[in-house]
């Protein structure tokens, strides 16, 4: 079946502009996660949604970052007033708690964001 998809695959933006990154999780997956991957830094947790519960926003680095998940499916990560340090690959993952392999998160290919 279809995996996690993300768009755009690449985004180049000027410093100070706002950007929106989209994630389409696997159908039926109730949990959705956003991570950021910078060179040599590994994956940095940003936010996760689980069903109708309040999202865990503990990883968002500043109030310029926000995310929403509409209808329990598609999610959008928004970065306002982008800075050069926001340049990274933004990865989205989804999972189906209680099914399959525990702790298995299915990742999309990522959006490579470059802020000039």
């Amino acid at each position: 079946g279809a995996g996690v998809s993300q768009s755009p695959s690449n985004k180049v933006t000027e410093k100070g502009k706002d950007v929106e990154l989209r994630c389409d999780p696997i159908s039926g997956h109730t949990a959705l996660y956003w991570y950021r991957q910078s060179l040599g830094q590994g994956l940095e947790f940003l936010i996760y949604f689980q069903g109708n519960s309040a999202p865990d926003k503990s990883g968002l680095p500043s109030d310029r970052f926000s995310a929403e998940r509409t209808g329990g499916s598609v999610s959008t990560l928004t970065i306002q007033r982008t800075q050069q340090e926001d340049s990274a690959v933004y990865l989205c993952a989804s999972s189906s708690p209680g099914r399959g392999v525990p702790y298995e998160q299915y990742f999309g290919p990522g959006t490579r964001l470059t802020v000039t």
């Binding site: 994956l43 947790f45 865990d56 702790y103």
Partner: protein, 113 residues
């Protein structure tokens, strides 16, 4: 100090050799330990997961956890060029199977024919 430390490599080995990867961590609340594999320009995929201390084997892969030392390892036997990838350790405190994972920086492995 990061909660999870992992040597970024690169680690270069000849085909057929044993690859040894490890992570250390500082948070004693971590209970579940995972290894993800990430090919270039792709998202990570789960390779193995273990709970608490002990060993787990799956084909050519063996994962070890030593909670007393806060140290986990992944061994790849009879390495193949197709094993060339970045390997990330990940950990979770939660007893349910969702929630955020804490990842290491990832170790780049290159297996040369």
């Amino acid at each position: 100090q990061k909660e999870v430390e992992q040597d970024p490599g690169p680690l270069s080995v000849p085909e057929g050799a044993i690859v040894s990867l490890n992570c250390t961590y500082s948070n004693s609340a971590f209970q579940y330990f995972m290894w993800y594999r990430q090919y270039s320009r792709k998202g990570p995929e789960l390779l193995m997961y273990t709970y608490s201390s002990g060993n787990k084997e799956d084909g050519r892969f063996t994962a070890q956890v030593d909670k007393s030392s806060k140290y986990i390892s992944l061994f790849i036997r009879d390495s193949q060029p197709s094993d060339s990838a970045t390997y990330l350790c990940a950990m979770s405190e939660t007893t349910d199977s969702w929630g955020k994972l804490q990842f290491g920086a990832g170790t780049q492995v290159v297996v040369t024919p």
